[in-house]
């Protein structure tokens, strides 16, 4: 039964970044956290905010706005950290807010249109239209490419 639903629907977490709605498949999301103290890690790209203590695990945090080439986020009460798991890597991304989990029919996902508001288009895996909402599906593997340039 569940399989039949999975084939048709993709369960996603919806979050906001600069007035746009983005989605990540729930399978990649380990949890959503409130902001806590972030320890800055020197000599890393500017979008790396630092690391946090996530229940005993040191987890790197990146500012998704900066990563996508948007203006740096102003952290406030609604800001959230979405902990994303890719293979054996855990990374937290800071988003403006995250408050929804949706089922999107897979057939409503289209490849990215030619122009999407000046974003670095490589990061976009597709766009889903759900009623009047436009949901941008991110290519998390590209967004969270491990950083090796230390020196």
């Amino acid at each position: 039964m569940t399989e039949a639903i999975d084939v048709q629907n993709l369960k996603v977490v919806v979050f906001q970044l600069a007035d746009k709605e983005y989605v990540i498949p729930v399978t990649h999301v380990q949890g959503i956290e409130k902001l806590t103290h972030i320890t800055r890690v020197p000599k890393t790209p500017s979008y790396v905010k630092g690391v946090i203590n996530l229940r005993g695990v040191v987890t790197p945090i990146i500012d998704l706005r900066k990563r996508l080439g948007l203006l740096e986020s102003e952290l406030n009460e609604s800001s959230r950290i979405i902990i994303i798991t890719l293979e054996d890597m855990n990374v937290g991304v800071i988003v403006d807010s995250a408050n929804d989990v949706l089922d999107i029919p897979t057939d409503s996902i289209e490849p990215q249109p030619e122009v999407v508001g000046g974003l670095e288009e490589d990061y976009i895996a597709g766009v889903a239209k759900l009623g009047s909402r436009l949901l941008i599906l991110l290519h998390m593997h590209l967004v969270l490419n491990p950083i090796k340039s230390g020196v």
Binding site: H37, T39, R40, V41, P42, K43, T44, V48, G50, V51, I52, N53, G56, V57, V58, T59, P60, E87, D88, M89, N90, V91, L144, P146, I147, K148, G150, V151
Partner: protein
């Protein structure tokens, strides 16, 4: 039968048995006569055969079966241990290992072992015949020479016999057998002697008269008698003594005595020859024997004293360790809370808890400690094989294999050590001819040594080979552009030696299979440094080299000094700290745009951590600076920080897979207040 649930156990145990086989075979090579070792190997092979047959791995069962047959032949003295034989058995063990690994990797454990099986079979039947024949022959000849050689005479006795024979006396050797249930043996002996003394003179008895009187013999004793009576009379008279069941009298002639003496000598020689034959290439003979006995007795001691153990999956220990790390973090938090509250009762409880967790930490860390043996034990095989490949004679001496190291370190240390040993064998030890011409023993020695010292474990690889050739190394380094000629002249021998650790360096004239593909020692150095260790080379040309590796005992909990930089807290591992100091701005000197201080007569460069780490804050000019003096090898540096917080035990955590190789940061830890602090990698800061 569904055997899948036993698979894991099968693989584990198979590996252990194969390892045991390997170890014992190597030992056997040194002591080819020691049947106890053969028995050990046999037992392992037998268990392996049984297990693999049960699990349905026919190739393994088949091969072990053949191996077992050969071992059985050795065990029953029908085969002698030779280097060639061991080669085949080693190949078999290798193939078994391959199959087991294949099974572990999810394969079906199939391998073409026909060739090895064939070879083993050939050994079993082919070599069995001639060897067995010679032994039989030997036994026969020994028997004939032994004859009824009941008594050995000393020179005096021989003269007596000789003289009596010259005077037409007869000399008889008499064997007297008493009844098994004879109650008064001494009395019978007395009666026999009384009779004999009436007939002539007893010149010798075996056992001695004292022993005979003390009844210290079985049923038979021997006497040499000089008499004029004929042989048969002597026998008949003796048979009259009650409870004597058998009397054999044989006359002794001079020739017999002479030949017997010669036989005696030649027999000794013959047995020696047999031993030498059996040992063949392995030259160690008599000298090794006492050692051998010692060894076998110690191994026995080990096996019998093996206390109760249980097999625990390493992952479970890792989970335990992780949970304990959490506890350590909370302990830190509790400590800081109790310091703030200043409640006597709370202080006491926290203090107690700290002590208990301290003990617990020791136990858990110890549980994860593994003797370096697990890494070392594959080296004797490797050295043996490599020495044969390279046509060199090399003996490997392993010292301190019982030294324990954290499993995390053990896992990483294997490959670097393989590299270093290969390097020593290939580049260090010369060929036997060269060694001979240099007046060294043909056989080179490589010593692999491990020992504890303080919070560190040292692993050393020492060889008595050629050492490092300064000219050759410099020439190569210059041609590879690693150093310039001007600098090259100023380098000390030690610095030159360390050049071989630079990447892209290989001094072997011939690029060999063994080492010297240019990716050698720099990788070793990097790996060891990534483990928080250091590496040191001492070399004397013509005498040999010593590679010394210093490793931390554990990688998971370390002692650090916490320091403050602006609002941020960093941790500096205590292992690299020499001392801390507070200096005035006026103490800072400038040398070529590099700020230095004069520290106890040494010029120490300063590293301003706030600049390196780009700490965001306003410029505050202080007259005093807190400096942490750290070292890397014998180089020093002063890390300038805002203030010292104190020393603490922390749990080392990685920054995760996303942030790999951040400059000058080796990891992170979680402080008592729940915040993350970064650990400074001093090695990266000292150039």
């Amino acid at each position: 039968m569904d055997t899948s649930q036993y698979l894991e156990m099968f693989i584990e145990e198979s590996k252990e048995h194969l390892q045991a086989c390997n170890e014992h075979l190597l030992e056997l090579e040194k002591n080819p006569e020691d049947i106890a070792i053969v028995n050990e190997v046999f037992r392992s092979a037998h268990t392996l055969k049984g297990m693999s047959a049960t699990m349905g791995y026919e190739d393994i069962a088949n091969l072990t079966h053949k191996m077992e047959n050969v071992l059985d032949e050795i065990r029953n003295n029908r085969l002698h241990v030779t280097a060639d034989l061991l080669d085949v058995v080693f190949t078999a063990v290798d193939q078994l290992e391959e199959m087991v690994l294949d099974i572990a990797a999810g394969g079906n454990g199939k391998l073409d072992v026909a060739d090895t099986v064939q070879k083993l079979h050939a050994i079993e039947i082919g070599e069995e015949a001639p060897v067995a024949a010679t032994t039989v022959e030997e036994v026969v000849s020994l028997d004939s020479s032994k004859g009824q050689n009941w008594l050995n005479y000393d020179d005096y006795e021989l003269t007596v016999i000789q003289q009596s024979l010259e005077q037409d006396y007869h000399t008889y050797e008499i064997s007297v057998k008493l009844r098994e249930d004879c109650l008064l043996k001494a009395a019978r002996v007395y009666m026999v002697f009384e009779l004999l003394e009436k007939m002539g003179d007893v010149i010798k008895s075996s056992p001695s008269v004292e022993k005979l009187e003390a009844e210290d013999f079985d049923e038979v004793f021997y006497i040499a008698l000089v008499t004029t009576e004929p042989k048969d009379d002597v026998q008949k008279k003796l048979m009259k003594v009650s409870e004597v069941t058998e009397v054999v009298v044989q006359s002794v002639t001079l020739e017999q005595l002479k030949t017997r003496q010669q036989d005696e000598l030649s027999k000794v020689e013959k047995t020696e020859q047999v031993v030498v034959q059996a040992l063949e290439e392995t030259s160690q003979t008599a000298e090794l024997k006492p050692e051998k006995k010692e060894k076998s007795s110690t191994t026995k001691g080990n096996t019998s004293s093996s206390s109760k153990t249980i097999r625990v999956n390493i992952e479970r220990l890792d989970v335990l360790m992780n949970l304990f790390e959490e506890l350590v973090i909370d302990r830190g938090r509790l400590q800081s809370i109790s310091e703030d509250l200043r409640n006597a009762e709370l202080d006491e409880t926290v203090e107690r808890m700290s002590r208990i967790t301290g003990d617990l930490q020791n136990i858990i860390l110890n549980m994860r400690m593994v003797p370096v043996e697990t890494v070392f034990n594959r080296f004797p095989r490797m050295v043996r094989q490599l020495a044969r490949d390279l046509n060199k004679k090399i003996s490997l001496e392993v010292i301190g294999a019982e030294t324990e190291l954290d499993r995390t370190v053990i896992d990483e240390i294997g490959d670097p050590l393989v590299h270093l040993i290969r390097n020593s064998l290939d580049h260090g030890i010369e060929s036997p001819e060269v060694r001979k011409s240099k007046g060294k023993p043909e056989e080179g020695t490589v010593v692999l040594r491990a020992y504890h010292s303080g919070n560190h474990v040292f692993i050393e690889i020492e060889d008595d080979g050629a050492g490092i050739n300064r000219e050759k190394v410099l020439k190569k380094a210059i041609s590879r552009g690693i150093v310039s000629e001007e600098i090259a002249i100023t380098l000390t021998d030690k610095q030159v030696a360390e050049l071989i650790l630079s990447s892209g360096f290989s001094t072997a004239d011939v690029i060999s299979d063994v080492s010297g593909r240019g990716v050698g020692l720099d990788v070793v150095k990097t790996t060891i440094e990534s483990l928080g260790g250091t590496m040191d080379i001492t070399s004397t040309e013509g005498k040999g080299s010593l590679f010394s590796i210093q490793l931390p005992l554990t990688l998971s909990i370390i002692s650090v000094m916490l320091v403050e930089l602006g609002e941020e807290i960093y941790a500096i591992p205590l292992s690299s700290i020499i001392e801390t100091a507070i200096i005035r701005s006026s103490d800072i000197l400038n040398a070529h745009n590099q700020k230095v201080i004069d520290f106890r007569g040494k010029v120490v460069p300063l590293v301003f951590l706030e600049d390196v780490f780009e700490v965001p804050r306003e410029d505050t000019k202080d007259e005093f600076h807190s400096v942490v003096i750290v070292r890397k090898g014998d180089k020093l540096a002063g890390l300038v920080v805002d203030s010292f917080i104190g020393q603490q035990e922390i749990v080392l955590k990685s920054l995760g897979a996303y942030l790999t190789s951040v400059f000058a940061i080796s990891g992170a830890t979680i402080l008592g207040n729940g915040k993350v602090a970064l650990i400074v990698d001093c090695n990266a800061l000292i150039i």
